[in-house]
């Protein structure tokens, strides 16, 4: 109905409550975990098939008609969308494996998996959308699932507060989006991306166009945690379960970036309307603020939240550069950040699982008690720092050189200086968590369970491998960047 990928996610979301019920009756919780993982593996397989279909045809289109809507293009999938969904599903699969043990003490596991699949559906749907209206529906669904997931541990007040904060800010963003949509509809009489693009590309710059762009950046920027629309993230991350934090940072934030790229590149020519200059300014503000705030944190997950904001700044460099090489760097960094930050949150989750604390000082020296987790965290931190030869270095290098090639050297210098500055807090974490001698309670902590270590080791391995041999993901990202910049082909296929 909506491509096999979405259908399979939908099917599993609907059936998970039933399986959950059966699992509870039988008394074997693992059935539910296994079922969720099976769902994700199946979805990955469909994604794999979709990848080849897109590779063959360039673009895959799903038309959908109903009573209120005239037959219209609802989903339009190109390599860019496939790349992004690859990031979400890949990360979600690792997160699901991790969740088996991590969530074992939680009640409401059925809810957890249902919401997880709901989150994935909304992210995948927003990424596949070929129409602003469809995008908006999935977007709203996204806000609701994230709100519920942040408040998942609802017995305490803090998660609920964080979730309400997220909900309010996200709804303001959505309202702004709705306003932008109505302006676009008023100008062109359509919400279909391809038709919008055809019309908008002929519109000469006028205040309404600028207002629309501003509203779009605000609307998606909330989810993309572009400073100053980022304030929900540092609150939501610490309160959400770590597995969800990994998904929020690794995938959800990237949906915001995806939508900004998709809409702006398709509808407005950077050469004509210099929206990329605005994004360049946001890039510098975002990474600088993210790095400065990260320096001040004592809560390990809050620190990672600010580090995510800083990484968004780096990603925006590539978007602001708006060349294929730059976008390729941005996409490559999106993938790398999903891996590094996902890994970092999983390590933090493993610490919390064993010690029930998020405080950096209380966790002092835990890397020695949990050597495998410590080593994985070390790799994640060094990669986030941009240390060669790890994945984070390669993508940052591509981003900085792309800024230089596009004659934006200041952007590159800001990136390099920020990168150097960020060394301070990553190194501080290494010193406290890994190098310090553990004492008391921390010295007796045991290594994380194997099923949590498996996804962590896999991600650490990917981070190292991509640093030495970046070619596979880099060329995939390059195809995706090419698809994003090839707006004429996107428009032609929908016609």
């Amino acid at each position: 109905m909506f491509t096999a990928v979405l259908d399979s996610l939908l099917f599993f979301m609907v059936t998970i409550p039933v399986v959950g019920l059966v699992a509870r009756k039988v008394g074997v919780r693992k059935i539910l975990d296994g079922y969720a993982i099976l769902g994700l593996i199946l979805t990955s397989y469909y994604l794999y098939e979709l990848y080849f279909e897109v590779l063959r045809n360039g673009i895959v289109i799903v038309k959908y008609s109903s009573v209120i809507l005239t037959p219209t293009v609802s989903l339009e999938i190109d390599m860019f969308s496939v790349f992004m969904v690859f990031v979400y599903i890949g990360l979600a699969l690792l997160v699901a494996i991790y969740s088996i043990r991590y969530m074992e003490h939680d009640t409401g596991l059925t809810w957890y998996y249902t919401l997880l699949f709901g989150l994935l559906i909304s992210m995948v749907g927003a990424t596949f959308a070929g129409d602003f209206f469809i995008l908006f529906i999935f977007w709203q669904f996204l806000c609701i699932t994230v709100t519920s997931l942040v408040a998942f541990r609802r017995r305490r007040w803090a998660p609920i507060e964080a979730s309400i904060k997220y909900f309010i800010i996200a709804e303001v963003g959505t309202a702004s989006l709705l306003y932008a949509m109505s302006l676009l509809y008023g100008m062109t009489g359509t919400l279909n991306f391809a038709q919008l693009a055809t019309s908008m590309r002929q519109v000469s710059p006028n205040p309404w166009v600028y207002l629309t762009i501003a509203l779009i950046i605000v609307g998606f920027g909330v989810e993309g945690t572009i400073v100053p629309f980022h304030t929900w993230l540092p609150d939501a991350h610490p309160e959400a379960p770590s597995s969800i934090s990994a998904l929020l940072s690794g995938a959800l934030v990237k949906v915001g970036i995806y939508c900004i790229c998709r809409v702006l590149f398709l509808l407005f020519l950077p050469a004509q309307i210099h929206w990329n200059v605005v994004l360049a300014i946001f890039a510098v503000i975002t990474m600088t603020l993210g790095n400065i705030m990260a320096l001040l944190q004592d809560d390990i997950k809050r620190l990672f939240a600010y580090s995510t904001i800083a990484q968004v700044g780096y990603i925006l460099i590539g978007v602001a550069v708006a060349t294929q090489y730059g976008v390729m760097g941005a996409l490559f960094h999106i993938f790398n950040d999903a891996m590094m930050k996902g890994l970092a949150f999983m390590c933090a989750g493993a610490f919390i699982y064993r010690t029930q604390t998020r405080d950096l000082k209380e966790l002092s020296g835990i890397g020695r008690s949990m050597p495998v987790t410590g080593a994985a965290l070390l790799i994640a931190l060094l990669s986030l720092l941009g240390f060669p030869p790890l994945a984070g270095f390669v993508s940052k290098y591509i981003l900085f050189t792309s800024a230089i090639e596009a004659n934006m050297p200041l952007l590159a210098i800001a990136g390099v200086l920020n990168s150097a500055f960020s060394a301070a807090y990553y190194l501080r974490m290494i010193q406290i968590l890994i190098l310090a001698q553990p004492n008391g309670r921390i010295a007796e902590v045991k290594e994380a369970p194997v099923s949590m270590l498996i996804p962590m080791c896999a991600m650490a391995f990917i981070v190292v491998l991509l640093g030495i041999w970046p070619e596979p993901i880099a060329s995939f990202a390059n195809n995706a960047a090419g698809a994003l910049l090839d707006a004429p082909s996107y428009i032609r296929h929908a016609a």
């Binding site: 060094l382 240390f387 290098y397 050189t401 230089i404 390099v416 060394a423 070619e471």
Partner: protein, 490 residues
């Protein structure tokens, strides 16, 4: 696989590092033997390249690394890089042998020796790199294992000192990266050997070239610990475990000097020459300041650390005069200082290991108790103080002769000569203090260091003498290579 000899030799320790790490859990300090064998194998591999380099002037291997990002991975052994590679690996091998006894009471030696191997790879990679990004990558790879080794096995406030070391060097590396990126902006290449052609096409004005040279010089100066960015060195070198001090002082800081020679001087010769008076002044200040500070130390390793700063001043002076003679002297002094300072740190380690103190005020009259160490210390000190017939004499003489070749440097060189007096003063005081005079009672039971510590010291002492008597052993390799650079800088 023929044709990939350098790559395989370089990566061999990387692949062996996990094995060393795991065997460390079972074998304890005997893991060191495995690390030594690996390093010996690498040393033999690189020695076997030497005849090819002598014939063809260089051996180069190039690989596609990430074509999509325009990165190649090249390794080039020529008359300048190969001698430095050989001395680095030799020093690493000897320090690994030395570690076996020195580190016997410490824990986590698997991690220690695998970091040790990675550290070696980082240093060798920096010297062989042909691509600026690759250079930067190895530059940072050199930092990380050394940071861990200082933080984990160091003395005193090891973590604070390691943090300082990391931040200083990392910020230096950022300047280096900015220099590299600026080069890329104007020349559109990261490949060092494409730079001359693009420069002669007039793609980069001399002002921009100066900026690049300054950025690269700052990055390298932090690594070399030149005044005024030297402050990390006395802490890091004195608090690191002694075998690591040997490598930091003997090998790693030389990579900074090498970076200036290889990038700034070779490829941006004009810009370098327009700045050389500034560099010479910094070199002289570093020389004299390091020497004076060494005079004031009461800690054996701190004295040697300040002496390293002073010696890096000599090397930088030889580079900044930018004559064939001075540069050959500087490169030769890199090797002599690696041998001499490696030797002295090993001796200091032997003293600490046997007496349990590193305070000069407590050490006295040990010549009778530790005769071999005493002899080794004297050879090392005399060599670095520039006394014939030791290696250091030959290279210092060449540096200063090179200085006098430039008429405008006569004053500078004369001032620089003063610092040799300071050097002689603190080394003689050091020898006198530790080995002669009345022996305090509590040092009565001191014995000579164990054999695995003595052997590396003897090998280095032998080399210091050998290079003094027969300097052409090294200079014949280096000098033709330097001629090629000098032709670039007129």
């Amino acid at each position: 696989m023929p044709g990939s000899q350098i790559l395989i030799s370089l990566l061999f320790p990387v692949f062996m590092a996990p094995i060393v790490f795991w065997s460390g859990k079972r074998l304890g300090n005997k893991t060191g033997a495995i690390a030594v064998l690996i390093l010996v194998a690498v040393l033999i591999q690189f020695l076997s390249i030497l005849p090819q380099v002598m014939d063809a002037s260089f051996v180069e291997e190039t690989y596609e690394w990430a074509p999509i990002a325009g990165l190649t991975f090249g390794l080039r052994a020529d008359r300048i890089s190969l001698p430095i590679v050989l001395i680095i690996i030799l020093l690493c091998t000897l320090a690994a042998i030395y570690s076996i006894a020195y580190m016997e009471h410490r824990t986590g030696l698997g991690a220690y020796f695998s970091s040790f191997l990675l550290f070696t790879v980082g240093m060798v990679g920096v010297v062989l790199a042909t691509n600026l990004i690759e250079f930067y990558m190895f530059w940072e790879l050199m930092l990380l294992p050394s940071y861990f080794m200082i933080a984990e096995w160091g003395y005193g406030k090891a973590k604070v000192i390691a943090f300082k070391y990391f931040i200083f060097t990392h910020v230096g590396a950022v300047f280096l990266l900015l220099g590299i990126l600026t080069t890329y902006v104007y020349l559109g290449t990261f490949n060092m050997y494409e730079i001359p052609a693009r420069l002669s096409a007039g793609l980069m004005s001399i002002e921009i070239q100066k900026i690049v040279v300054i950025a690269i010089a700052i990055g390298c100066a932090v690594k070399m610990a030149l005044w005024p960015v030297h402050t990390w060195l006395p802490d890091a070198h004195s608090e690191a475990p002694t075998p690591i001090s040997v490598l930091l002082s003997g090998a790693m800081i030389k990579c900074g000097a090498y970076g200036i020679i290889r990038i700034a001087l070779t490829f941006f010769g004009d810009a370098f020459l327009s700045l050389y008076t500034v560099f010479a002044v910094i070199a002289i200040i570093t020389m004299i300041y390091g020497g004076l500070m060494a005079l004031a130390q009461t800690d054996v390793k701190r004295l040697l650390a300040y002496s390293s700063i002073s010696q890096m001043g000599y090397i930088f002076f030889g580079i900044s005069v930018a004559t064939a003679y001075g540069l050959t002297g500087a490169l030769f002094h890199i090797i002599n200082h690696a041998i001499g300072k490696g030797l002295l740190f090993m001796c200091a380690g032997a003293l600490i290991h046997q007496t349990g103190t590193r305070d000069l005020k407590e050490l006295q009259g040990l010549a009778g108790k530790m005769p071999i160490t005493a002899m080794a210390v004297m050879i090392g000190c005399f060599s670095l103080a520039g006394t014939p017939p030791f290696g250091g004499f030959q290279s210092e003489w060449m540096i200063f002769a090179g200085g006098f070749q430039r008429p405008e440097f006569t004053l500078f060189t004369s001032v620089a000569l003063i610092s040799t007096l300071i050097t002689a003063a603190y080394y003689l005081w050091f020898i006198y203090r530790v080995f002669f005079g009345p022996r305090p009672e509590k040092l009565e039971n001191v014995k000579e260091a164990p054999l695995t510590m003595i052997i590396p010291m003897l090998i280095l002492a032998f080399l210091a003498v050998l290079l003094g008597i027969w300097p052409r052993f090294v200079t014949d390799i280096i000098a033709p290579g330097v001629q090629q650079i000098s032709s670039l800088i007129k």
